[in-house]
Amino acid sequence: MIIQAITFYLFAFVAIGAAVMVISSRNPVHSVLFLILTFFNAAGLFVLLGAEFLAMILVVVYVGAVAVLFLFVVMMLDINFVELRQGFLQYLPVGALIGIILLAELILVTGGYLTSPGFAGPQYTGQGTMQIPPPGQVSNAEALGQVLYTKYIYLFQAAGMVLLVAMIGAIVLTLRSRPGVRRQNIADQIARRPEEAMEVRKIPSGGGA
C-alpha cells in the first residue's frame, strides 16, 4: 500500500507543481511543455485509479494531438515578453473572478457529493437504474463501451456532430481559393499519353525545324 501512496503523492505533487509552472513561467513554450507534464501526471493518476484506458486516451488525445497544436502555435508566435508582462494587472480582476467562480463550483460539487453521494447519479437524471459492472470483471474499454454506446449513444453522437461542425467551420473560415494557382493533378498526369504530349517530326538534314 505504501508504494501506491508514494506514487499517488508523487503524481499529485508533480501535477500541481507543473500546473503552477504553466501559468508562472515566462516563456510560453515552457508553459506548454509544463502543461504536457501536467497531462502526464493526470494520466498517471488515472492509472492508479484503475482507469488505464482513460489514461491512454488522455495521453493520445491531449498530449499527442492537442498539445502538439498548442506548441506549434506558440512556437510560431513572435512574442514580446515585456509587453506580455505589462497586461498582467489589467487582467488580474477578470482572472481572479473566474478563478473564484471555478473554486466555488468545485466546492459545491465536492460538497454535494460528500453529503449525498449518488444524487447526480443515473437514477436521478432520468436514465433509469444503470448496471455498473463490478470492477475487475470487465476491462476498462469494455465497461466504457457498454454505457457509451447504449445509454448515451445519442449524446455521444451529438458530441461527434459538434466536433464535425467545428472542424468544417474552421476549414470554411480558412479556405481561400486564389486564382492562378497551378496545382498538380495526378490523374491528369497519369492519363497523359505520348501521342498528346509530344510530336515527332522528321527533320530534313540541313533544313531545320
Binding site: 513554450v29 484506458f53 491512454m56 486516451i57 495521453v59 499527442g64 494531438a65
Partner: protein, 342 residues
Amino acid sequence: MPDLMTFWTDYGEPTAWIILQILAVMVPLLVAVAYLTLAERRVIGLMQLRRGPNVVGPFGLLQPWADAVKLLFKETIVPSGANRVVFLLAPIVTFVLALIAWAVIPVGEGLVIADINVGIMYLFAISSLGVYGIIMAGWASNSKYAFLGALRSAAQMVSYEVAIGFIIVTVLLSVGSLNLSDIVRAQSGGVFGWFWLPHLPMFVIFFASILAETNRAPFDLPEAEAELVSGYNVEYSSMPFALFFLGEYANMILMSALAVTLFLGGWLPPADIAIFNLVPGPVWFVLKVCFMLFCFLWIRATFPRYRYDQLMRLGWKVFLPLSLFWVMATAAFLVFTGTVPK
C-alpha cells in the same frame, strides 16, 4: 532482521526482477540498434554495387563501436542563443520514448515485461509522443534549418499517425482485445492465418505509414540534406546527436516489431510443422523483425524522396480515406457474418 527480510521479499525482489527483465530487453535492443546502422550501410552498399564499411573488424563488424566511441569523445556543443535545458532535453526524450515502448511488446508466449490490457493504446500513445523530441530540438536550436526541419517532421508524423490509428482499429476489430499478446494469439494457423492476408491493403498502408512515422526514406523530408542540411538535428553534436540517432533506429525496430505483432503473427511459427514448432518463439519474432527492417533499407535504396505536398496528399487524401473505409468494411463484415470476436 525479519523486517528487512519482508522488505526484501515484498519490494526488493520484485524490483530486482523487473530491472533484470528491462535489461534483458534493453541490452539486445541497443546492440541491435548498433548493428542496424552497420546493416543499413552494408545492405545499401551491396544494392549500389559498393562494399560498404568492411575495414574495422571482420566484415566491418566493429564499425558501430568505432562510431560510438568517436561520438562519445566529441565535444558537446550547445549553440549560443539556444534554449539550453530544452536543447538537451530533446534527445533524451526521443531516446527514452523509443525505449519505454518496448515494455509491452511480446517477444514470445508470456515473454513481455508488462502484459497490460491496453498494450496497443500504450504503444500508440508513446509513438504519438515521439514528435515532441523533434519539435523541442527544432525550437531550442534557435536555427532556421532546424526549425523548418522540425515543423516538417512534426506535421508529417501527426498526419500519418491518423492512418496508423485507423489501421490499428481494424486489427482490434478482428481481435476484440487491446492486449498485444491476445492480438498475436488471434493469428494462429500459420502464415495464411496472420492478419497480413485478410488485411492486405492495410498491411501495405501500415508499412508506408511507419516509414513516414519514423521519417525514413522515401519520406525523409525532415532531413532533406539538399535543402535543410540535416533537419532538426543540425545543431547537435556528440552524445546528444548519438541519442537522436539511436532513438531513430530504435524507433525503426519498434515500428517493425509493431508491424510484426499486428500483421505477421508475432512469435508464431509460419506453419504448424514440428520442426518450426521446435524453434523458440523469440527467434521467429526476431527473424520477422529483421525481414521488416530489411524492407526499410531496401526501400531506402530503391525510391527517390517524395515532394512535401505529395507526402501530405498521400497521407490525408489516400491513406486516411482508405483506412477509414477499411474500418467500416471490417466492422460490417464481422457484424453481417456474425463473427464479431467476443
